[in-house]
Symmetry: C2
Subunit: 262 residues, 2 copies
């Protein structure tokens, strides 16, 4: 059993790094199954889950991090700026070097995730990632993340749509917090593997007008045992105005607990 679980977690980790790194890890991707570690049916779910992995990967879901018609000039300019510095494969199959890497983004996390204890099958099948739950381009969160492994930095370009209103004409503080959680959580996952958010401490400096494009820049402060400390600054597109400053703390998930629990 322990070996089987070990394989599962390797699969999960591989999937996280392959396809789901750009998800909000407020609580970890592999946390959900923890609640189910109590009996035989759980094990069955896990095994079924593993069998379903290939189909989860083959369904070719929409990558929301690619440009669409709603992206304004500011969003496109910043996208091109970072994308041109990305590691890319040329037509001849050669790798073009670059410090940045664009992260894909989907509206489902992992098909085999069976959800929380109270989760009905209906809710489970309809569940969508909060930041990608509206398909109308430009209406809500338009964003793309880039990571720079060498500098341990992460950048997110975010265009705030009309459905994110808080105070009239401005972005809701909760929508800003959502993007901060997404960026810092993704960054922590890139740095430390599966994590959960333990603390978000957000200082709001100036409101963000609806429809505008902003930059979120996160950087590693330090790692201490299970703890990963990340800072995140939100500025306007040219960096001249600070909208918010955040410190965030993430806790790594102790996989050995899970293995012993099986």
């Amino acid at each position: 059993m322990a070996r089987r679980l070990g394989r599962l977690f390797k699969d999960v980790q591989r999937l996280v790094s392959l396809s789901s790194v750009n998800t909000p890890l407020s609580h970890p991707v592999i946390q959900a199954p923890v609640h189910r570690f109590t009996g035989g049916s759980v094990r069955t779910n896990f095994i079924r889950a593993i069998k379903e992995l290939p189909s989860a990967l083959s369904s070719k879901p929409r990558d929301f991090s690619l440009p669409n018609s709603s992206w304004g000039p500011e969003m496109m300019r910043l996208y091109e700026h970072y994308n041109s510095q990305c590691e890319m494969e040329t037509e001849g199959g050669e790798k073009q070097k670059g410090p940045w890497k664009r992260l894909p983004s989907y509206n489902r996390i992992l098909k085999f995730a069976t959800g929380g204890v109270y989760l009905s099958k209906i809710i489970q099948s309809k569940a969508r990632l909060f930041t990608r739950n509206i398909r109308d381009p430009g209406a809500a969160f338009e964003y793309v993340l880039f990571v720079n492994s060498e500098e341990q930095k992460c950048v997110c370009i975010f265009q705030a749509g009309h459905l994110l209103e808080g105070p009239p004409g401005h972005v809701h503080g909760g929508a800003i917090a959502t993007m901060i959680d997404t960026v810092t959580g993704t960054h922590a996952t890139v740095l430390s593997g599966p994590v959960m958010t333990a603390n978000l401490n957000i200082n709001y400096r100036s409101p963000i007008p609806l429809g505008s494009t902003v930059l979120l820049e996160s950087s590693l402060d330090k790692k201490e045992g299970r703890k990963t400390f990340i800072s995140c600054k939100v500025t306007n597109a040219d960096g001249s105005k600070v909208h918010s400053e955040t410190t965030a703390l993430f806790l790594s998930i102790n996989v050995s607990h899970l293995l012993l629990g099986g």
Copy 2:
């Protein structure tokens, strides 16, 4: 001009207390016009805005804080619990006393708000409150707020729909932050008038399963000049499990600045 602005702000404050108290005041309801205090066209907008006030009130928007078919038994039980302790008018026109008051909730804030500096007319007319931007009942944020003026407390019953997913089967940390901002911001507004969020410090203790109903309870810590300090605890429906603990700081808006600026 100063007198006209004075009247406008009284109108705004009245409207805030009448119809928009249950909006997320991450940044204040009357903040948006501040960015426009720079010329004649701004003034024109303000005057037009005032003229539009009656129609903004007469359109009878949907009150999202009333029960709908998606509300589960837990949500209904808690709603009835607080609603039965509310101040209500009986059929005979008598007032029935109660410590709690339900706050209505709409998906537009104020029709006359003209938005931020970058805000196009199209975005403006399509703008919707972030927490009420999905009309499908039960899909996203289902919530209702009650205030208790005597105890300086505010309670929110929140049922988390399938479109709020973060980690598989659980609510996105940003969606939780959004509800915390909404509840504490509303509470601060009830206590101190128009405010903006200056800080949110959220400690996440345990994940919230999608589809479950939780309680957010906010209480006044202290008021110091322009500052209002609020605490907020998120628990499961019976209060036995803590999901998160938050301290929040709100700043009152200094209206005299605006008057001098005109």
